[in-house]
């Protein structure tokens, strides 16, 4: 398009110039010249036609880029002339832009990224919520009916079971996606090698097949192109590999990329009965063309009861059935996939961090504006000359804008590098906390849009004040002819901006000290058990799976053989890992004590005899589980102190408690001290725990945690534990962690918040100091003569120093007052994010103010000293 316009203009230009020559020649001939002479003379008069054409072309095309080039070259020259300012500006922009982009890219990964399947916007997630509002699976039986619904164009049921797979004789727990055979087609998941499976293979008794995802194929099979047809052993069954999915497919559940994909009906052990088996699944469905999400919602609302009636598990008792029918089926967009806890856990902290980054960026912009106003004062003469020579408004605008554009571009280029590095570092640090956690953190289009928007805003904000300053100067020069007065008002604006910066910095420093003292408390808080010297290992079966052999005898052997490792002082098994696994609450009620509250929820944990000793949790009344191995007539429990208090104190010993939906009734034999076994809600200092006897709970014995305490403070190393477990040949240590590390991991979002906000707080302080130093320094330099006069007239050095410091103090005091208001206003947002510290703690506030005031005075001290050491003779001679 551009080319065609160009050709047309070119042709017209030729015609126009030719026309001119023709007319001139015709006139000359008419006046009696020979044809040849006329030609020669006409050309001579016209001048070099190529040069003329070139100039005309410039008018149409060349001008803008020639001007741009000129402006940029000039801007580069200006920036190189003041390397200190340029370096500070680029560094500040790098940090500010880089941090914003890094945090945004994390938010993008968690909230904005689409599911890696075909047309994800058409997908909906059908979930079932129980009375407490928690998301539960749905029995795969409902899929048969959903497939027949005309509002859908394909459905998919999937689950992510724990599977042990053997590669080259080594058992590993590999992320596995078990899904119905129609998932590939419904969602649009494609292979790069081999083929997918269909509903045909998704049947009990069919040949067991599996697909590899790109990551497992590359990491474990070295991207072997002949992988199709090979077999692997998973949970006791042999699977034939039939294909490899495309690289872009990273799973359906946020943060948990699978390695293996198997048919839903085949991940379990071979079925002996002919009855169909149903699994608890998550459900995705594709909306049929022209069917809206709302239409799907109303359709599901109509058939919800029917779906629940049809799918209620056969083994449920009356109470369980009632609970089941009370569930609600909800439909939501599955465009960005589904998530278990990452969004809930990191969402709010990340948005707060983004807010902090945004305010740092604001501070940086204010800071740079202040510095640029100072520079603008320096350049008054240059601009005056330009205006006198007839520089137009537009050229002055370009002069200012080119410089800022260059700074912003340079800052954002380095900022992006920093952001890539930072987000990778944050992800790899937080990734350690979930086994198999990983997200794809490459930048995508939403990050690109964010970056462009950010740059536009930064450039606009930075341009505003210098531009205003320059144009005002131009206006004055054009009118009255003198630049005086502008200086004074620019100084005043600089001071106001500095005060704003101090206010923002105070809010930042106050926020970070809040997060810091909050995390300190969380670190040192007494959890009710001793974390030091304690290690835990999560156990998984070897690739043969658990099978149907009883586990009792094996587990007793295991405890004995781990207990024999030198250095261990106490060992036990538990159905959960303290501070590591998520806790699940179940309703509990007292059987005999009818006065006790009925709507209580408690965390049921099966633990073996030495648990309380291993954890160092005191028994406050009654007994712990005994070591003798005689089977009892009834199941027993030890409950936490807080739960006992709700059930009537010591009286509960010897009485019974009914637990949850499986209606288990247990006899309370003892009361243990309160112990916070999870930090999901650190504010909850009254944990309601009900410990069940591990040996009486065969249902809770699979995938246990092995807890080991050593005599000293150094926990048992992973290798010793691994060797002891593998020596018995039934399980392996899927994950080993010391409880101190687990505690840190459980607090990772708080640590992240404290760490990042401290870093930004320091950055804010540095920026404020640079701003004060720069402005006061310039001020002193400008007033050298005046100070010289003062000294000559007998002013004391301390008086001169005070002259400068007073200005700094005025700025800082104004800033602190405004900052306090800001901090108090901000407090409400932060309250939910800190533990055990008040947002309005006067001590923290005092420390923040002191730190800020000290930094400010330190920054002002050097200019003040320089002022007080002015030699009046030299100063006056300069004039």
């Amino acid at each position: 398009m551009f080319g065609r316009r160009r050709n047309k203009i070119e042709a017209q230009l030729d015609a126009e110039l030719q026309d001119h020559l023709d007319r001139q020649i015709a006139d000359f001939i008419r006046s009696g010249m020979s044809r040849e002479d006329a030609h020669r003379r006409a050309r001579l008069l016209f001048g070099g036609s190529d040069q003329v054409k070139e100039e005309c072309r410039d008018v149409h095309f060349g001008q803008w880029w020639a001007i741009l080039l000129h402006d940029l070259t000039y801007a580069i020259r200006c920036l190189r002339k003041s390397p200190g300012f340029s370096a500070v500006a680029i560094l500040v922009l790098t940090l500010a832009i880089g941090s914003n982009v890094a945090v945004f890219s994390l938010i993008d990964v968690l909230f904005l990224r689409e599911l890696p399947v075909d047309r994800p916007a058409e997908l909906v997630n059908i979930a079932s919520l129980d009375k407490q509002g928690r998301t539960n699976g749905i029995p795969s039986k409902v899929l048969d009916r959903l497939r027949a619904e005309s509002v859908f164009h394909g459905v998919c049921g999937f689950t992510t079971p724990r599977m042990t797979t053997e590669f080259d004789g080594v058992a590993r727990s590999v992320g596995t996606l078990a899904m119905t055979g129609d998932c590939f087609e419904s969602l649009g998941i494609h292979t790069q090698i081999g083929h997918t499976f269909s509903l045909e293979s998704d049947k009990p008794g069919a040949e067991r097949v599996a697909l590899l995802t790109d990551s497992l194929w590359k990491s474990t099979f070295n991207a072997d192109p002949n992988v199709v047809g090979k077999t692997i052993q998973t949970n006791g069954s042999v699977f034939t590999i039939i294909g490899v999915t495309q690289a872009k497919f990273t799973g359906l559940l946020l943060g948990f990329p699978p390695g293996l994909i198997v048919p839903l009906e085949q991940f379990g052990p071979p079925s002996t009965s002919s009855k169909p088996i149903y699994y608890w699944v998550s459900i995705f469905a594709r909306r049929a063309p022209r069917i809206s999400e709302r239409q799907v919602q109303s359709r599901i609302a109509v058939i919800a009861q029917q779906l629940l009636q049809e799918s209620v598990p056969m083994r449920y008792n009356e109470a369980q059935r009632r609970d089941y029918f009370a569930r609600r089926l909800v439909v939501a967009s599955a465009r960005t996939g589904v998530d278990w806890m990452l969004r809930e856990r990191f969402g709010q902290p990340l948005y707060v961090v983004l807010g902090i980054c945004g305010s740092v960026l604001l501070i940086a912009c204010v800071n740079l504006t202040t510095l640029m106003l100072g520079r603008g004062l320096h350049r008054q003469k240059e601009i005056s000359v330009r205006v006198a020579l007839g520089a137009s408004k537009a050229s002055l605008v370009r002069l200012v804008a080119a410089e800022i554009a260059l700074l912003v571009l340079a800052g954002s280029a380095t900022g992006l590098v920093l952001a890539t590095w930072a987000s990778r570092m944050i992800l790899s640090n937080t990734g350690a906390m979930f086994t198999g956690f990983s997200v794809n953190n490459s930048f995508d289009s939403s990050t690109a849009i964010f970056v462009l928007g950010l740059l536009a805003v930064v450039a606009a904000v930075l341009t505003a004040a210098p531009l205003w300053q320059t144009l005002r100067l131009q206006g004055r020069l054009a009118g009255a002819g003198t630049g005086r007065g502008v200086v004074g008002s620019a100084m005043r604006h600089q001071k106001i901006l500095l005060a704003v910066q101090v206010a923002l910095t105070l809010a930042l420093v106050a926020g970070s000290s809040l997060f810091d003292s909050s995390i300190q408390r969380l670190y040192t808080m007494d959890l009710g058990f001793e974390t030091r010297g304690l290690a835990e290992g999560l156990l998984s079966p070897l690739s043969g799976g658990y099978g149907s052999k009883p586990l009792d005898a094996y587990y007793r052997d295991l405890i004995r053989s781990v207990g024999n490792i030198p250095g261990t002082s106490s060992t036990c098994l538990a159905s959960f890992a303290p501070l590591w696994t998520m806790t699940w609450y179940q309703p509990v009620s007292a059987v005999e004590n009818t006065a006790a509250p009925t709507e209580l929820h408690s965390h049921p944990a099966a633990v073996s005899a030495r648990y309380f000793e291993t954890m160092r949790i005191p028994i406050v009344a009654g007994d712990a589980f005994s070591l003798d191995e005689q089977p009892r007539s009834e199941r027993t429990a030890v409950i936490s102190l807080s739960l006992a208090k709700l059930f009537g104190g010591d009286r509960i010993i010897g009485q019974h408690i009914r637990i949850g939906t499986d209606e288990q009734v247990v006899k309370v034999i003892g009361i243990a001290g309160d112990a916070q076994l999870s930090l999901e809600n650190p504010d909850d200092r009254t944990p309601l725990t009900i410990y069940l006897n591990f040996w009486e709970q065969p249902d809770r014995q699979r995938y246990p945690a092995l807890l080991v305490r050593t005599a000293g403070t150094a926990p048992l190393p992973a290798s010793a534990l691994t060797r002891a477990v593998q020596g018995l040949g039934r399980e392996f240590v899927e994950h080993y962690i010391t409880v101190d590390v687990a505690r840190k991991d459980a607090l990772i979002e708080n640590i992240l918040l404290a760490w990042l906000s401290s870093a930004f707080g320091v950055l804010g302080l540095i920026l404020a100091a640079v701003g004060l130093f720069g402005v006061l320094g310039y001020h002193v330099a400008r007033r050298t003569a005046e100070i010289g006069v003062r000294v000559a007239l007998g002013a004391a050095r301390s008086q001169i120093r005070w002259l400068v410091l007073r200005q700094a103090l005025a700025i800082v005091v104004a800033g602190i007052v405004a900052g306090l208001g800001l901090t108090i206003a901000m407090g409400r947002v932060l309250t939910g994010l800190v533990f055990g510290v008040s947002v309005y703690d006067p001590r923290l506030m005092g420390v923040s103010i002191a730190v800020l005031a000290f930094t400010a005075v330190a920054a002002a001290w050097i200019p003040a000293r320089r002022a007080s050491s002015v030699d009046p003779v030299i100063a006056l001679r300069q004039e």
Binding site: Q12, D19, H20, F46, V52, H60
Partner: protein, 91 residues
């Protein structure tokens, strides 16, 4: 041009005529100036049939151009007046 549409050659002839041959510039340098004025919107350019029966590019002063002309004229008069005054005082 204030009098009506005129082509480039016509303009060059008029300048020579009116300035009584005082201004002797290369004719070609007229064109970039015309194009620049056209680009700024002070001139309008149309292709039309001319006296010799061929297509030629005619320039007309636009409304905005007319305004600009007034401004430049008054500026020039002021400057010329000022320069004149200075020279007179110097005598």
């Amino acid at each position: 041009m204030a009098l009506g549409p005129i082509h480039g050659y016509g303009i060059s002839q008029r300048i020579q005529q009116i300035s009584k041959d005082v201004l002797q510039v290369q004719q070609g340098s007229l064109y970039p100036a015309l194009h620049r004025l056209e680009k700024r919107g002070w001139l309008r350019a149309d292709w039309g049939e001319s006296d010799n029966g061929r297509q030629a590019k005619f320039y007309t002063l636009s409304a905005e151009g007319r305004k600009q002309l007034k401004i430049e004229q008054s500026n020039w008069n002021r400057l010329a007046g000022a320069v004149g005054l200075i020279l007179e005082t110097a005598e």
